[in-house]
Amino acid sequence: MHISNSLVFPMLAFAAVSLFAAGPDGPAQIKLEEVLSIGGPDADLLFQWTGVSVDRDDQIFVVDTLDYSLKKFDPRGRFLGKVGRKGQGPGEFEKAVGLSVVGDSVYAWDLSVRAVQVFDRNLIYRKSLPLPGLVDGLGPTPDGALAVGILGPDGFPKIIVIDTEGKIVREISYQGKAERLFGDSVRFVFGPSREIYLGYLFRDLVEKRDLSGARIWAKNPWGTKSVELREIRGFKIPTESCILSVGRDSRGRIYVLGGKKAPHPAREVVIYDADGGLAGGFLLPDPSHSLYFDHRDFLYVAADGGVTLKKYRLIVK
């Protein structure tokens, strides 16, 4: 196991990175202070982590797609254990791409499996919840249910709400047929007042909607209007990613990580307040495929191509 707190890359310890900001209160300086680093280029711990989630005891859970595993770390980053191997059986992964800890359950999903696997916080496999599409994201709703982003058999994304047994309770409708984009994918987080924030992988669009699907506001963080499409076997497929990840801190600020359309792909983060006002932004020191906030507002992102997990404290001046 390898843990480095500002030892390996001292330049990054306070690194980082202040950048622009333009809110009603004037420019805000945002600095990332590294508080924990797990794995690394010379460690033997993380190989291509894809999903991270933190439980109420600050234990860190990670899925790693290269060794087909779900791993658990204590709050200081010490390795506690892992489960999983390649396969499609119980507790196995083909290409683990995400996870979410909700209460006492750890939900993990594969890129190509129409189900979510449920583990307990001791990494013991409990069950699988079959779903009507490939899983694209999962998170708790304000009323204790689970919202799951799925890519339906028709190739279009949607969000369904399920109970803990996997029964579909309702669907959150967030785009009309004319707006739908084949092959698109949506990242989402919920706010405390039954609102949902959406970021589209292939559209330069961040939205706030209520749970009935009505749009409250919409933003184009990178100022692009068009969607790059490439025709493959008769299907027009989007190719240039716009929004890689969406996160929310306890103060209600929404963090949007840009894809290839951003000026600094996979590093540029734009912050909106709950009313859609631009509240600031910063650059990550290293490209990351995702960002995640725990319940204490620590930020988790990737570094070194996914062999490192960084935990930062955001300092807003």
């Binding site: 033997d44 993380l46 291509q48 797609t65 290269l66 191509g305 996914g306 062999v307």
Partner: protein, 174 residues
């Protein structure tokens, strides 16, 4: 299969590597390199594009190869080379990251052959189309190349080549 001392085997592989680099002008026959001292030695070089590690389907052929080749043969006669698609000399840190990624992947799948990182980018041209396997018979100076996806006949031929003790005549490469 006759067991050889580790160093000799590894020296043989590196001799093959140097031979390939030295005689890389011609594919399908490298008779200009003299490997007669290695009669009976057969090796496989597996060129793995580092970017393919992020693309599971891209690795299907490699997994098939690894499933088919016995672990002991992988250890003795196969060497992996992690290659980069970038046109410039990669940051040494990228090489370390690539090794780490491979360590996790190979351990999970029980892949036994050792790997090196192509820091000099000598194999870029060979692996630009994807995972590539070079089979080399040091005794006859014959070389054959496959680029993924490998079909069952190709896998079968590779396994036969690496495990057979009989004289093996490779068909000319199409």
């Amino acid at each position: 299969m006759r067991k050889e001392p580790w160093l000799r085997r590894r020296a043989g592989i590196w001799a093959v590597l140097w031979g390939i680099l030295g005689a890389s002008a011609a594919w399908g026959g490298t008779d200009q390199a003299d490997f007669r001292g290695l009669v009976g030695s057969r090796f496989a070089l597996v060129l793995i594009d580092v970017d393919s590690l992020a693309c599971d389907p891209c690795l299907d052929s490699l997994r098939e190869f690894c499933r088919a080749v016995p672990p002991a043969v992988q250890e003795d006669r196969v060497l992996g080379v992690l290659t980069f698609r970038t046109g410039k000399i990669p940051d040494p840190r990228l090489g370390r990251i690539a090794r780490t990624k491979w360590a996790g992947y190979s351990r999970a799948l029980e892949i036994k052959f050792p790997v090196t990182v192509d820091e000099s980018q000598s194999f870029n041209r060979l692996s630009e189309a994807g995972t590539t396997i070079l089979l080399f018979d040091a005794g006859t100076g014959r070389l054959k190349r496959w680029t993924a996806p490998f079909g069952p006949p190709a896998i079968e031929e590779m396994v036969r080549f690496l495990t057979s003790t009989e004289v093996f005549i490779m068909e000319p490469q199409p």
